[in-house]
């Protein structure tokens, strides 16, 4: 349900454009993985695309909770951590256990889901299905933990909820780094050697960039469907006015819990993808700063806009990892600039963020969605003042 009424033909055309663009994107990604030559450009582009897709999913999952249900939660890094660890632990090959858990006598979990599947289904399909199953397990672990802490935490309101979830995320990080659990989590040491993006292949064809996009698109699509269902309406009703929602018969606790658990599930999936992307993970990296980074992207994209979160994710990652890198290098267009040195990128970045927050306080998209149906209408009636274009179509075109 969008905020503008489109004719069926506009909707259909919008949907067709979205599907065509998405298909074109996947063809491009496939070409990047397999055909296009590796040069300094693609070497920067590919990681940005991968990480952008992963962050899109994580930011949309946070937006579901903060933007659509109105629950100000700051536990995202904690749930990502659970997801990343669950994924890694269940997909480290048996032969690697001694090496990975070198301080814990090889750990206690002595099996690997992708390996088990590979022995039955062959190397390619086994690795793919194994990775997908481990990703789902990662989501389920994060969701299960959310259900557990949701019981006390969701009784708190606004800022207090943020403080409590932030606290829980920090506790999770501390617990995962604890030596006592080292036989499972490897304590404060790295987890590595698990199935990563480069293991996803068919024969000699690589799907390293296609895979994270596939999972992210699928998950974001599921979230969009949820938001447009009657559950999504109940979430938005709770966000807009709790008392009125309750008076309409919406069970507040049940729906807050549902939103919290689902958001955490997808944060866990995002964590698993991040683990695959990085090829090694360590609990120490999942700091509060990571949650703030995600929150920042959500705010820049627009609280309550799925497409805004996706666009902002790619922009943020591209700026952070690529476009603003020259600021750290000491020279610009061959001219050496004295204050361009390590860390200057962060200064410029902070200024850009301040400008965005000061002058675009509703974010890039506000609470609207990118809509191809809306674009068609705008192109058709350039002269008439069309109402603000906003619809869900194409919101998943990450």
């Amino acid at each position: 349900m969008g905020k503008t009424l489109y004719t069926p033909s506009e909707k259909r055309a919008g949907r067709v454009i979205a599907v065509v663009l998405l298909a074109a994107l996947y063809v491009l990604l496939f070409l990047l993985d397999n055909v296009l030559p590796q040069n300094s450009f693609t070497l920067m582009l590919i990681p940005v695309l991968k990480k952008g897709a992963i962050y899109s999913l994580i930011c949309v999952s946070m937006n579901l909770l903060n933007g659509f249900t109105g629950l100000f939660s700051l536990g995202q890094a904690g749930f990502m951590l659970i997801g990343a660890y669950a994924y890694a632990i269940f997909s480290i090959p048996k032969a690697q256990h001694e090496a990975v858990y070198q301080y814990f006598h090889g750990g206690v979990i002595r099996f690997s889901i992708p390996e088990a599947l590979q022995s039955v289904l062959g190397a390619d399909l086994g690795a793919f299905l194994g990775a997908v199953i481990c990703i789902i397990i990662a989501g389920l672990f994060a969701a299960g933990f959310a259900a557990l802490i949701g019981i006390p935490v969701l009784r708190l309101k606004s800022d207090y909820l943020a403080i409590a979830t932030l606290g829980f995320a920090e506790i999770i990080r501390a617990v995962f780094q604890w030596d006592g659990l080292g036989v499972v989590t490897n304590g404060s040491n790295l987890l590595r050697k698990y199935t990563s993006f480069s293991d996803i292949r068919v024969g000699s064809l690589r799907f390293t960039t296609v895979f994270p996009f596939l999972i992210a698109t699928l998950c974001i699509l599921l979230i969009v469907l949820l938001i447009n269902s009657s559950y999504g309406r109940a979430f938005k009703a709770i966000r807009d006015d709790e008392i009125a929602a309750e008076a309409m018969g919406v069970n507040l606790f049940k729906h807050k819990m549902l939103s919290f658990v689902i958001s955490s599930f997808f944060a866990g999936v995002g964590g698993a993808l991040l683990a695959m992307y990085q090829t090694t993970i360590q609990a120490a990296a999942f700091k509060t700063a990571m949650t703030y980074e995600i929150l920042l992207i959500v705010v820049i994209g627009g609280i309550g806009s799925i497409s805004g979160s996706c666009i902002a994710s790619f922009l943020f990652i591209a700026c952070n990892e690529w476009w603003l890198r020259f600021l750290d290098s000491g020279s610009f267009l061959g001219v050496s600039v004295p204050f361009f040195r390590d860390g200057f990128r962060k200064v410029v970045f902070s200024v850009i963020i301040m400008v965005v927050v000061l002058f675009f306080s509703r974010g890039i998209m506000g609470d609207r969605e990118l809509s191809f149906a809306g674009l068609i209408r705008r192109l058709k009636r350039k002269n008439t003042a069309a109402p603000a274009a906003a619809d869900e179509t194409g919101g998943d075109a990450s």
Binding site: G2, K3, A234, M248, G249, N251
Partner: protein, 237 residues
């Protein structure tokens, strides 16, 4: 006629004080019953208690023969009691259509007929179907609040101060619609400070003062009563 709603000896604490100190009232099926009283008399608290948003300290609420005292709002809405809360409380960032659909949240059947009925009662809402609720005027928001409450297919609809902050002409049209809704078979419990309008449409009326019922009668009786005329209608006897 049968009793649809019966409240017996209701006492409610709200915000640290005893806001309702023993209210008993009966709503007959098919009627418009009004509860009038000054600010702070306990009208809204009574209504919030019926809908389950506030739990009573003492007393019973019976709806259609079933004791619903202390039930969750979800269960009470499911049994056919809905409300248009004080201050309208529409969902500002959701469209008019979405607002109406949330009203029917507990229903799993087809909504087309009921949406059409609401749009027939309030043609203005049809025009504003795709507009966020927060952009509507006060009168339109009140229409939306009433429409939203109707979407649950209620047997009893409770309206909390529907005339609050509206222009006299708009108030009149809202009251016309209240009559129309009642004529279609929905029982109405109306809370009002605008005693004049409320008593004109009501079959029976209760006067609430500092948490207690002090007077009761038909709408016409109370309209003619000297004490009511002086206290609530501002007319010298």
């Amino acid at each position: 006629m049968s009793e649809l709603l019966k409240i017996d000896g209701l006492k409610v604490n709200y915000g640290g004080i005893e806001a309702v100190k023993g209210v008993s009232l009966t709503v007959e099926e098919g009627q418009i019953v009004t509860l009038i009283g000054a600010n702070g008399a306990g009208k809204s608290t009574t209504l919030r208690t019926i809908s389950g948003l506030v739990k009573p300290r003492e007393g019973t609420i019976t709806f259609a023969g079933e004791n619903i005292t202390g039930m969750d709002p979800t269960e009470i809405v499911r049994r056919g009691v809905t409300m248009a809360p004080e201050g309208r409380r529409i969902f500002p960032d959701m469209t008019v259509m979405e607002n109406l659909r949330v009203g029917a949240y507990l229903r799993r059947d087809d909504l087309t007929d009921d949406l059409n009925r609401v749009f027939e009662l309030f043609p203005r809402l049809k025009e504003r179907e795709w507009q966020p609720g927060g952009t509507l005027s006060g009168g339109e928001q009140q229409m939306l609040a009433v429409g939203r409450a109707l979407m649950a297919k209620p047997r009893l609809i409770m309206l909390d101060e529907p005339s609050l902050g509206l222009a006299p002409l708009v108030v009149k049209s809202i009251f016309d619609i209240i009559r129309e809704i009642n004529a279609s078979g929905v029982t109405i419990l109306l809370i009002e400070q605008n005693a004049n309008m409320a008593l004109q449409v009501a079959h029976s009326a209760y006067v609430l003062e500092t948490g207690r019922i002090t007077m009761t009668g038909t709408g016409a009786e109370l309209l003619a009563d000297d004490r009511i005329r002086e206290a609530y209608l501002g007319k010298k006897s």
